[in-house]
């Protein structure tokens, strides 16, 4: 709340000093330093030269780091190579960076022990918040573990945010940012059903994962609403990966089961399913319609472009960061201990080129 005087003499160099010495505008310096805009090599070189001369960067950060003051958000993610949650992380870090905050990402490898070790480490380092991403496996154990994390972080003045994970039951000091997972699956299945598909192969994902359970429930509700049977032998569980989509479709085709559409649990699973169809000489969407879930960049890079459910992953990340920042700015106001906010973002179907009405009833 205190105002700072801009002084070019005694204090550390300001962005204005850099701009003056480099003979460019403050906006240009900002563009070079932010790295978010294209700048000419010449401008970049000129500005960075002055930045080094004035030791501007170091000073700017020394001010805040000296007191351990740069707010830092830690994101914990199962695997660094998962596309969907990388976009959540991107959203968090984009919003953090706008505020001058730093972001760190830790990977747990689905290992609860590593997750705990990272949460402990983050607590000791005094991070502003810990954001945990991704579906949860074991509901009961998950609730206990997360409640413990939430309380331990809260006691240390930090805060737990769960993104794309089930909210915590009871009075637990954590914020949940979620998306309408089941609603998206309901809409996607309805899209296939309203195009006339009746025999749909469903590849919802790992049976024990909360997101896959929600996607399967959404699809089942849509079938019920349309009065279409939902035969269990048309549901094949498996990992959220390309290989699973490929193998599942290969095996169903070998068995000779008939279907006119595939409802895949993720875009990556859909990509695998499409490759299996093509290898079997089946065209998408002429012979079989295929839809995915997530709307990662891959979806619009496939041929045909994949109709899918848009999940606002990056927006979820931004919302999570904003929730933390708002909480911090309202700080010290005794909101601790029972806020347990639960924000749910909408999902929607993105219609592209992978769905057509079936030639004849499957």
């Amino acid at each position: 709340m205190s105002q700072r005087k801009a002084s070019a003499d005694a204090g550390p160099a300001t962005i204005r000093d850099v701009a003056e010495r480099a003979g460019v505008s403050v906006a240009s310096v900002s563009r070079v330093l932010s790295g978010n805009y294209p700048v000419s090599d010449d401008l970049r070189r000129r500005v960075m030269k002055v930045v080094r001369e004035l030791d501007y960067v170091t000073n700017a950060h020394a001010r805040s780091l000296a007191g351990g003051g740069t707010p830092t958000v830690a994101i914990l993610i199962n695997h660094i190579t998962g596309a969907a949650f990388a976009h959540v992380a991107k959203g968090v870090e984009g919003a953090a960076s706008l505020r001058g905050w730093l972001t760190l990402v830790g990977t747990t490898g689905d290992d609860p022990e590593r997750e705990l070790a990272l949460v402990n480490l983050m607590r000791q380092q005094g991070v502003t918040a810990v954001v945990l991403l991704g579906g949860a496996y074991d509901f009961e154990e998950y609730q206990l573990r997360m409640a413990r994390f939430a309380r331990s972080l809260d006691a240390a003045g930090s805060h737990l945010v769960l993104v794309g994970r089930p909210p915590l039951e009871g009075d637990v000091p954590a914020t949940t940012v979620d998306y309408d997972n089941e609603g998206g699956a309901y809409a996607m299945a309805s899209h296939l059903l309203s195009a006339g598909h009746r025999r749909v192969l469903v590849l919802p994902g790992p049976a024990e994962l909360t997101t896959a359970q929600g996607r399967l429930n959404g699809a089942r509700r849509a079938f019920e609403a349309y009065g279409v049977p939902f035969p269990p032998d048309m549901v094949h569980h498996g990992p959220y990966d390309f290989e699973h989509g490929l193998r599942a479709v290969e095996s169903v085709l070998r068995e000779g089961s008939r279907f006119t559409a595939i409802l895949a649990g993720t875009d990556v699973v859909a990509a695998g399913a499409m490759q299996a169809l093509r290898s079997a000489g089946l065209r998408v969407p002429e012979d079989v319609s295929v839809v995915g879930y997530d709307d990662i960049p891959l979806a619009s890079q496939l041929t045909p472009k994949l109709s899918t459910v848009h999940v606002p992953y990056e927006e979820m990340g931004r919302v999570a960061l904003r929730a933390v920042a708002d909480r911090r700015e309202g700080g010290g106001t005794g909101r601790r201990g029972g806020d347990g906010a639960h924000l749910i973002l909408g999902t929607h179907v993105v219609v592209r080129q992978s769905v057509r009405p079936p030639e004849r009833q499957g």
Copy 2:
């Protein structure tokens, strides 16, 4: 070097205590806790129950964390959504996890200021090493900045490792893990040339990026070796992304330039190029051959599967971590200040289905 006694009474719970109480083998507990193997829900529940009862996990990590003892490796990466370097990070964290080390990832958004802030933060936190990933833009400024990082980390008892970046000149305390970038491009271009291609569209990447420069040089050398002209108008620079591959090929097709093959700077650029060809009614590889670079999973998920250059990204990550661990184990032996090791891993062409001899000379 000191041996630890396994005691089940006074000291903290051991994995053996957990196994005994849960009535399962030590191997089973290890499988549940590692999260790397499929285990039944029942086994997982049983083991985690005992883990909670004995507070096994907490104890195990409390021991090392109490003294700030868990070695932690920080990886700094430009963008979290880049596939290739996510695999380096995966390699680092896999090798780190095997040793019980933790890994943190920070993203710089191509912003030198954020990079500096993260390196400073890591130095203060006493991380064992900072691993910087990805191509570099401005050679001179890069050398200065990295040398400063290396010395500042070294002074704090940490160590700088550069992966997929140019090595540092002079006596700088840093380790570089690199791959034979130019050699891979030479081999890939030779593969097209030996199939008979003479008019090749080259999309090497951003002109100012060191990796793109290396890939272009490798291709040029191959053309020289085959005595084939390398016309500058067939080289189109642009970002390493799908959109660039798509737009560049669309524009070259519009201009009416003839070519029988495309040498793309990355697999993602190749995917964009393939979509542009398909939209124009051209078949791969019957009408145009296409090759990529990186060998990310996408390459074998495209139709046809993409011939490309395999870069051992994950192995580079493992090698980087091992270099740090070896250094640490040999620690305190005055190897500081001038080790500057430079490890170069090999690359090779992976032949898949996207190359055929041209129908007639282009």
